[in-house]
């Protein structure tokens, strides 16, 4: 037996799912209602998690002896000086710390995972016993190199050399096509997932009811020109 609160939640979830899909028709009050609920809920969610995070990662260390964490709280508080124009410039200090720490971590990580590891993965053997593997490896090397060369900014290739960046461009386009085509499957599965939720035996009759209600409301709205049809 499902408890009433959970059941109510599932009904609301079903209604909101259908209301959100109505967004596909264009901007209208039904979709706006769902939008405003989501804006309130996610902003509140993020804000509350932020409060808890400040408590856990900023205040708790101070309380347990790592007193220098008080700096993070002070820096964080300096953000609020933006509320008044004459003190707004104080926000630059905490922002500088965020940027500095972020770029430091990003740069030191990128050189390994996005640069050296990629190079290492492209140095491939061309003399394996399997001929097919050799051809594939050779293709992999050529295509990776041309795709890298495509991005060169400060040199324009001339004459027969234009073929290099052009092949790189084709490689990139093929990669885009592959990503496009294969992503579709996953995105379709998401719709199927929502469909399965709406069709769960305990709520399916309500789903149908909500669907009819929403369609009726929209039909009336469009008919009476209260909602514009683009």
């Amino acid at each position: 037996m499902i408890d009433p609160l959970t059941f109510a939640g599932m009904l609301i979830a079903a209604a909101l799912t259908l209301m959100t899909y109505s967004m596909l028709l264009g901007d209208q009050p039904v979709a706006q209602t769902a939008e405003n609920i989501l804006v309130g809920a996610t902003t509140g969610y993020e804000a509350w998690l932020a409060i808890e995070f400040i408590q856990r990662a900023g205040w708790a260390p101070v309380a347990t002896g790592k007193t220098y964490f008080v700096i993070s709280l002070i820096l964080g508080f300096m953000m609020f000086f933006r509320l008044h124009r004459s003190t707004a410039w104080l926000y630059k200090y905490p922002t500088a710390v965020v940027l500095g720490a972020g770029f430091g971590v990003a740069m030191r990580a990128a050189i390994f995972s996005q640069f050296l590891d990629q190079i290492r993965g492209t140095i491939l053997p061309l003399t394996t016993p399997d001929a097919m593997t050799n051809i594939n490896n050779l293709l992999m090397i050529i295509l990776t190199v041309t795709a890298t060369v495509y991005f060169i900014f400060s040199h324009e290739f001339k004459g027969p050399l234009t073929g290099i960046p052009r092949l790189g461009r084709y490689t990139l386009l093929a990669a885009f096509g592959a990503a496009f085509g294969s992503t579709i499957q996953f995105r379709y599965e998401l719709v199927v997932g929502r469909g399965l939720f709406l069709l769960r035996p305990e709520i399916v009759s309500y789903s149908v009811f909500f669907l009819i209600l929403i369609l009726a409301a929209l039909a009336i709205g469009y008919k009476t020109k209260k909602i514009t049809w683009y």
């Binding site: 939640g9 899909y21 609920i37 509140g44 500088a96 500095g100 990128a110 190199v145 579709i184 719709v191």
Partner: protein
């Protein structure tokens, strides 16, 4: 000290010191306390960002209050937003983020709308493909052909009609797809290094509006 120094120059000095410190402590053998400090700086960043979220939330509340106060078009929706926002914060205050009520809002308001919104990408991808995938140029023909082959490779009907599509799809994913994205990843890493270097050296003034 002139105004320009502490308003515009000192923040860039802070950015430089923090950035260089975080990078150097990673590469050089330093006492564990110091490398721990570099880790703490990242936490500081997250704490500061959390304060930023609170500030942003205040701004959003102010925006909606102004809408409601001036009775702008559709101001009634702002009431809804504010009620849900207040309810979320209140349930958090009462029972923390692991509390039953807070999770109820998360599970039955956030997740369904969010998941549905995510799934609408399926519709938009389809209509975008219909609108833009035309045999206009050689470039668009390549992209479209590869995309169609990929679709056939995951579609059961496509596999039955053309059994080779499964292997072709695998090959495309394995060779041209990885090669293209690998070349791009190398470029992105270098771009990141470039912009990072400029930011840390204070040659990217926009980041601190100077």
């Amino acid at each position: 000290m002139s105004e320009n120094v502490y308003k515009n120059q000192l923040p860039f000095a802070v950015l430089f010191i923090v950035g260089v410190f975080v990078i150097l402590t990673y590469f050089f053998q330093v006492p564990p306390e110091i490398s721990a400090m570099a880790g703490d700086l990242t936490t500081f960043g997250a704490v500061i960002a959390s304060f930023g979220i609170l500030l942003g939330t205040l701004a959003l509340v102010r925006y909606h209050v102004v809408l409601m106060y001036r009775k702008k078009k559709n101001w009634q929706f702002s009431i809804l937003t504010m009620i849900v926002l207040a309810a979320t914060l209140l349930t958090g205050l009462i029972g923390s983020s692991r509390g039953k009520d807070f999770l109820w809002i998360y599970n039955y308001l956030n997740i369904p709308i969010n998941a549905t919104l995510y799934s609408t990408t399926a519709f938009f991808i389809t209509s975008a493909a219909y609108r833009t995938f035309k045999l206009r140029t050689f470039d668009s023909a390549i992209m479209m052909t590869v995309a169609v082959l990929m679709i056939l490779s995951w579609m059961t009907l496509g596999n039955l009609a053309f059994p080779a599509t499964i292997e072709i799809g695998d090959w495309i994913l394995k060779i041209p797809n990885s090669a293209g994205f690998r070349g791009m990843t190398i470029g992105v890493a270098l771009g990141l290094l470039g912009i990072g270097t400029r930011a840390i050296l204070g040659r990217y003034r926009e980041v601190l509006t100077a």
